[in-house]
Subunit: 165 residues, 2 copies
């Protein structure tokens, strides 16, 4: 574990997202993620890095897609809710509807994207999921997005980062 390494990596500026997965046989989940980046203009592609030990990884593959719901600066509590343990049905607490791929889309967010998974590449302890952006909407153009660094160590990253390179 390393607070210093976590501090360094917090200088890679990231947003905070609720990523929705699943849809096949009504099995769905959503989780908080920050490792999301655009990677291509034509076609429009996003990459998500996901821990394959996470149950949402299987749900993502079952459904063949994922949603990226952009959180506002005042939605830290929602980030914590979807960042917590998976025992309960976290989606029961919020308004959502299924998108084109079946993955859940949150109603009250700044913006959202719907992606179809096109490929995956294992990288270290995660897997890169490449998603073709099928649709997207800017719901609250005046709102400020939540920035990952502003969440402090909410996700416990300092306990996961190694202490050396």
């Amino acid at each position: 574990m390393s607070q210093a390494m976590a501090e360094l990596f917090r200088r890679i500026t990231l947003g905070v997202y609720v990523v929705g997965v699943g849809g096949a046989r009504e099995r769905r989940n959503a989780f908080t993620a920050a490792w999301v980046v655009p990677v291509s203009f034509q076609p429009l592609l996003l990459v998500l890095s996901i821990n394959p030990k996470h149950s949402s990884y299987q749900l993502l593959k079952e459904g063949g897609g994922f949603s990226v719901n952009v959180l506002r600066r005042d939605q830290l509590e929602l980030a914590a809710h979807f960042g917590g343990p998976s025992q309960t049905d976290k989606l029961a607490a919020v308004a959502w509807h299924p998108g084109k791929t079946g993955a859940p889309l949150l109603e009250d967010v700044l913006a959202r994207f719907e992606c179809e998974m096109t490929e995956e590449h294992p990288v270290g302890d995660h897997v890169l999921i490449v998603g073709r952006v099928l649709d997207g909407v800017l719901l609250q153009p005046e709102a400020e997005p939540l920035i990952y660094r502003e969440t402090g160590d909410m996700d416990g990253a300092s306990m996961i980062f190694p202490d050396r390179f």
Copy 2:
């Protein structure tokens, strides 16, 4: 071209970096990039999405690595300098030294990372470069990082984004 699509994608929060490449036979370059994201804790990996038509892509492959220099909020001019056309030796204008892979490290930046390229994956009109983080340093912990959205349309992204999904 689409201003609306660029506006939507600006809600994926990103930083602004000068990525240094090259080192083999003293051939080096650096360019402004925003599509950088951490993707693994163990080992520490970053992903950079690069346009393979960019001359820096060849330099990156020659040198086998790249540096990620994190810009401060007051370094918009530096972002523009390294985002401009490649005819001139852009590095001549700044203080830098070669890092472990030979790629240039800028002296006056918030933080920086040195990466060895471990793999690449073509994705749409870009290529994902996976970099193992060999070293990194937080030089100016009190400084605020430059946020991509704050650069407006400096990089002309609204002229590159397609107008539909």
